[in-house]
């Protein structure tokens, strides 16, 4: 038994994305959820399932109270930060597919534009978790942890600097076509990419996602009911999670084959759950808190053999006329960083045919979670 074809994303909503937004994180969540409900044409009182990230600051009961939901029959949170997004959708979909609940909301809200709000900047004086093994040596931030993996990858497979620049430029070009993107109206060429300051060598400023104030939300319905809703249903074809033995979140240096990530586990499971293959994917939304994660995920999900992602990217593979248009609203690097949940809403727009850079006849979309944490993935398709 799988959930294939049983559940659809019926509504999407979002707030403005920006820095220094006035509403509280809780109000941003409510605004995005309200927009998603209106988009779907579903009354708040009909929602009986709620999924989010364990890192979400607003408790589920506050959402229920503030948004006027009905009695809830399913509520869950998914751990591991940016690895959680596809699974938050997947858990809600499993609840609907099994009849545990009838209508679900998934949301993510963040107010992270203030520098002091960064998680790493609030490091405890005494570390009890696995970061005790790395942070005292000065490896402080997620970007530092990805930088050492990027350097090792480049050592094994060759120079990745041109590919990182192309990732940043390709996603910026998509953002420039997306009026909602934080980097809309801010084109970037190669010289500007290389001129930006180094943050964690070999990663520069524009290899990092945008710390963002904002929220996104989605409404899920059983597929039959979604066909009667306001929007064209976007059907969940497959969902998978992955965690590789020996992994520890972000600081994942302690396995002999450290370059084979949790994403490989999620990918193998995803492709087992469906008859589709990587060659069938029309558009990809790949988690990109940092640009090297796109290289790693392209290989994990089987779009290119190991070690060939940089060439694929430099050949224009991520562009709208390329082999695999990727992060077509600008992604975390250039649209907004809502812990990857805005990648799911963009996949929905692509399948609906309403994206700002619409890929012609997009019928199958992949969404991935963070390659450097335990993670998950979704395969979304058009109905019929």
């Amino acid at each position: 038994m799988t959930i294939a074809g049983k559940v659809a994303i019926a509504g999407i909503g979002q707030t403005p994305f920006g820095r220094g937004l006035e509403p509280s994180e809780r109000e941003l969540a409510c605004i995005a959820i309200d927009a998603a409900l209106q988009d779907a044409g579903v009354d708040a009182g009909q929602i009986d399932a709620l999924c989010s990230y364990t890192m979400e600051a607003t408790p589920d009961f506050e959402i229920v109270r503030n948004c006027g939901f009905g009695p809830l029959h399913y509520f869950a949170q998914v751990p591991h930060g940016g690895g959680a997004g596809p699974a938050a959708i997947g858990h809600a979909a499993m609840a609907l597919a099994t009849g545990q609940a009838k209508a679900a909301v998934v949301w993510r809200a963040r107010k992270r534009s203030a520098a002091a709000s960064r998680v790493w900047a609030q490091s405890a004086a005494v570390l009890e978790d696995h970061w005790k093994w790395s942070r005292p040596s000065g490896l402080l931030r997620p970007v530092d942890e990805v930088a050492v993996m990027a350097r090792r990858y480049a050592h094994e497979y060759g120079d990745i600097a041109p590919a990182l620049a192309e990732i940043a430029m390709a996603l910026r070009a998509y953002a420039c076509a997306n009026p909602a993107a934080m980097m809309h109206g801010k084109p970037m060429d190669e010289a500007a990419y290389y001129a930006a300051r180094m943050v964690a060598d070999p990663l520069r400023l524009f290899d990092n996602c945008l710390e963002t104030d904002g929220a996104v939300a989605l409404v899920l319905l059983p597929v039959e009911r979604a066909r009667d809703a306001r929007q064209k249903p976007v059907v969940i074809e497959a969902f998978a999670q992955g965690m590789i033995p020996g992994h520890q979140s972000m600081a994942d240096f302690h396995r002999a084959d450290a370059l084979t990530s949790c994403g490989h586990v999620a990918a193998q499971q995803l492709w087992r759950m469906t008859g589709f293959t990587p060659a069938d994917v029309d558009v990809a939304q790949i988690y990109d808190a940092f640009s090297p994660l796109i290289l790693f995920s392209l290989e994990a999900y089987g779009f290119v053999p190991k070690g060939e992602a940089a060439r694929f990217i430099c050949d224009g593979g991520l562009r709208s006329d390329g082999a695999l248009p990727t992060n077509t609203a600008g992604g975390g690097l250039s649209e907004a960083y809502l812990h990857g949940l805005n990648l799911v809403t963009e996949a929905v727009r692509q399948i609906r045919g309403t994206a700002t850079t619409q890929i012609a006849d997009a019928r199958l979309a992949l969404v991935t979670g963070c390659d450097a944490t335990p993670n998950g993935a979704l395969l979304l398709r058009s109905d019929g």
Partner: protein, 142 residues
Amino acid sequence: MIPGIPLPSRDGPFEAGFWAALDRGELAHQQCAACSAWHFPPRWRCACGGALAYRPVSGRARLWSWTVVHPPVLPAFAPFAPYPVAIAELAEAPGLRMVGPLVEQPGDPLNHVDPARLRIGMPLAACVIALADGVRWPAWKI
């Protein structure tokens, strides 16, 4: 020692032998009695099911990867940024890796080693330094 850095707790599960060795000025890791596999970070038992015991390691390693950390960083590290941080792969086993600072001599500041000197695969040697009073950690001599 750098005042104000985040410090590791020393009372976590399965790690008493790790800290005890460092307190003696030695580096030790868990080794499986059944299959001889080495493990770090500390764990309950080997993936093969075998029992683990702390045994001294040679301290010989190679540079597996590194980064150079540029601002913004935590305030305690700010005077040293940019500074390199190493991932050292110990000679005992592939995958037996530790994160640590690079030095020429124990006591060198965090930013002492010029990153231009670093090459993946270069030999490193462990030396035990104090992160704070009563908290020791291996740094890696180039």
